[in-house]
Amino acid sequence: MDFRWEQEYLEFRDELVGFLRAWRTPELLAEYDRGEGTPGPAMRSFYEALDARGWMRMCWPVEYGGEGRDPLYRFIFIETMEYWGMPYGDLTFTSVAPTLIAFGSETQKKKYLPGIFKGEVRFALGYSEPNAGTDLASLRTQAMRAGDDWIIQGQKIWTSLAESSTHIWLAARTNPDGPKHQGISVFIVPVDAEGVSIRPLHTMSGLRTNETFYDGVRVPAENLVGPVDGGWNIVMYALNFERVGLAAVGDLAREFDLFVAYLKERRPELLDDPVTRTRLAELKVDLHRQRALATRNAHAIASGGIGIGEASMAKVHGSELRYRFSNTAMDLLGRYGALSEESGALAPIDGGMELTWRMSPILRFGGGTNEVQRTIIATRHLGMPR
């Protein structure tokens, strides 16, 4: 046992932080903050600078432009980007890219991976349907073979970022007759393909999500990822990697640091109160717990597994801590805690706490509800009976 990060990881972290300090400009943050995801000029040049250093692809195999570094570098990269609130491609980077590397064809890897690390290829995830949410395997969007092509017919929901993405990573039913887990396949669907339409849904977090409709959308056979009817494992693999991002401690740690700094500067009388300090100490212990769970998960992945139990534990604890943290912070701030960004200078941390609170439900039910995660922990990690 040795809990120290080796020097090379720390050097990488410091180099990355130095780089981010230079690139974290108000223009870039404003562009990223609009949340629409489409890179503007500041984000485009940031992605170019990132690409020049090769950091988004460093953990990928050499033949796809990477350096074959171990996945702990990716963990440090994600955590650091999350801490500094910088764009790095989100789920396209954390979930789709590693899944493509594991299951994609040579052609697909050569075609999509370079675009991913340049920020040019951006995926929205097409999993859920109105009647297939947590019970994802009940999905009914159909893909039917038509010569060398596939024709897709159906509807997806919660297709977040579809409006700014180039592709949809779509799970569709290719065999309606067999067991439901064994009749699903994964397709890459260009957002601009004929027959794809997008209808916005507005959430209380302020972020937009979408319904997407597929009306006779024709995609070539080369857009099928992995084997026909073999999509369920691919989706599970991708979801597990999705949880790595969801489980990060980075952005919560930053909010904690910002919150304490705010109290120190603007509300010293609150920070002098031992009750406030005890509350902050509780949150700090929980943040360290999250750091522990996220680090364990990264190590499970680095040692060759996909860390099913580890990912689920980190996801459950991290998402519930997000709520607990913002809720406590708002309670400490009193009515100021509810002031949103539009309130201007009066709003603590630009309304960051109320925003985090408003955002917190999605991380608990999204990416596989926490109830499903707990069942996974119990059955697959602890070995309880099914």
Binding site: L72, A253, R277, H288, L293, V316, P385
Partner: protein, 360 residues
């Protein structure tokens, strides 16, 4: 970074586990508890066979604390009534902070089991910073110590006392008539006592740094004991709900039951990381007081939650003393209070909450 035990550490843990499983049936612990005795036979065997010192380097300021943690964890898994954590915390404190002339010999005698030394730190106010016990100019120690674990079977106490305002650790031979020990039975059913010293002969072995180290080290070892209770409670709950049937099915298939177990696992595994990480840092002299407090607060807060859920999942079966669960429920809570409660550790963390934190 390597989060797994090394091969040597795994062998060490497995060997001590097997040895203790054979040596310490729970029935024996029950019997000793009733008689309010400690396990003197086991204690003699542990010393004679060299288990206490096996992982500690003979003359070094580094190494061995993870192994010490593993030993303490395994001993706690059997609910064994022996002062392993107490003796090791004294030995390592002396090894690293004791007087050069006296420490090597004493450490050897402690680790061989020839001497049994336990810390005597807290006083009636139950605050680690406050030391009223005093050593006069003739080297005689007077004062009262509370919550001294295994006080009555120890041959010596390592007592925190001040001499002309300077706090240090003093070795006091318990065989003197100037020492009065009163048993204070506790929830955990481990022997603890209130001790009164009246002009007892005392030998100074450490200064303020030794006193501070002892508290930090014993605090982490106590967190290991709490962790051990959580771990066993979780394992027992998984095992029990995997064989117990109600409504014609195993209760472990019910989601309500599974979700309790999942929460227990999250608490236990995150605590395990933090506790061993802290031991590792302490071993190299890199653990801040705050890091130690985070580990202990994590363990102290989680252990009652986990053991109470274990009780819930066991129902009446876990509530009767024929079942082994109560050892871990009661000891777990006892350990959550010892060497710094949740509130004490949170206060300590809170005091320096503005200090920049390394999150990675």
């Amino acid at each position: 970074m390597d989060l797994e035990l090394t091969e040597t550490q795994t062998i060490f843990r497995d060997t001590i586990r097997k040895f203790l499983e054979e040596e310490v049936p729970f029935s024996r612990v029950r019997e000793l508890e009733k008689q309010q005795r400690s396990d003197e036979a086991l204690w003699a065997t542990l010393g004679a066979q060299g288990w206490l010192g096996v992982a500690l380097p003979e003359e070094a300021d580094e190494g061995g604390l993870i192994e010490a943690g593993l030993l303490v964890e395994e001993v706690q898994r059997r609910a064994a009534l022996v002062p392993v954590a107490e003796a090791i915390s004294c030995a390592v404190t002396l090894q690293r902070h004791g007087s050069r002339e006296r420490a090597p010999e004493l450490v050897e005698r402690i680790l061989s089991g020839e001497m049994t030394v336990v810390p005597a730190i807290l006083e009636s106010v139950d605050r680690f910073g406050e030391v009223a016990a005093e050593v006069n100019d003739d080297g005689l120690l007077s004062g009262e110590k509370f919550f001294v674990d295994y006080a009555s079977i120890a041959t010596h106490h390592l007592v925190a006392a001040q001499c002309r305002g300077a706090v240090g650790l003093y070795l006091v031979d318990r065989g003197q008539s100037q020492i009065e020990t009163t048993s204070t039975p506790t929830l955990g059913r481990t022997p603890a006592a209130h001790v009164r010293y009246q002009n007892a002969s005392a030998e100074q072995l450490c200064g303020e740094d030794g006193h501070a180290f002892l508290i930090q080290f014993a605090r982490v070892l106590c967190a290991v004991q709490a962790l051990s209770c959580m771990q066993v409670a979780l394992e027992m709950s998984v095992a029990y709900t995997s064989i117990r049937e109600q409504f014609g099915q195993l209760i472990g298939t019910f989601q309500a039951v599974q979700h309790h177990a999942a929460d227990m696992a999250i608490d236990t595994e995150s605590t395990r990381f933090l506790v061993y990480e802290t031991l590792d840092a302490l071993d190299r002299g890199e653990a801040s007081e705050e890091q130690v407090a985070v580990a202990k607060a994590a363990a102290s807060r989680a252990v009652p939650e986990v053991v109470m859920l274990a009780q819930q999942l066991h129902g009446g079966q876990g509530f009767i003393e024929e079942n082994d669960l109560y050892f871990f429920t009661l000891r777990g809570k006892e350990r959550s209070l010892a060497w710094g409660t949740t509130e004490e550790c949170l206060a300590l963390i809170g005091r320096s909450v503005e200090a920049p934190e390394r999150w990675l």
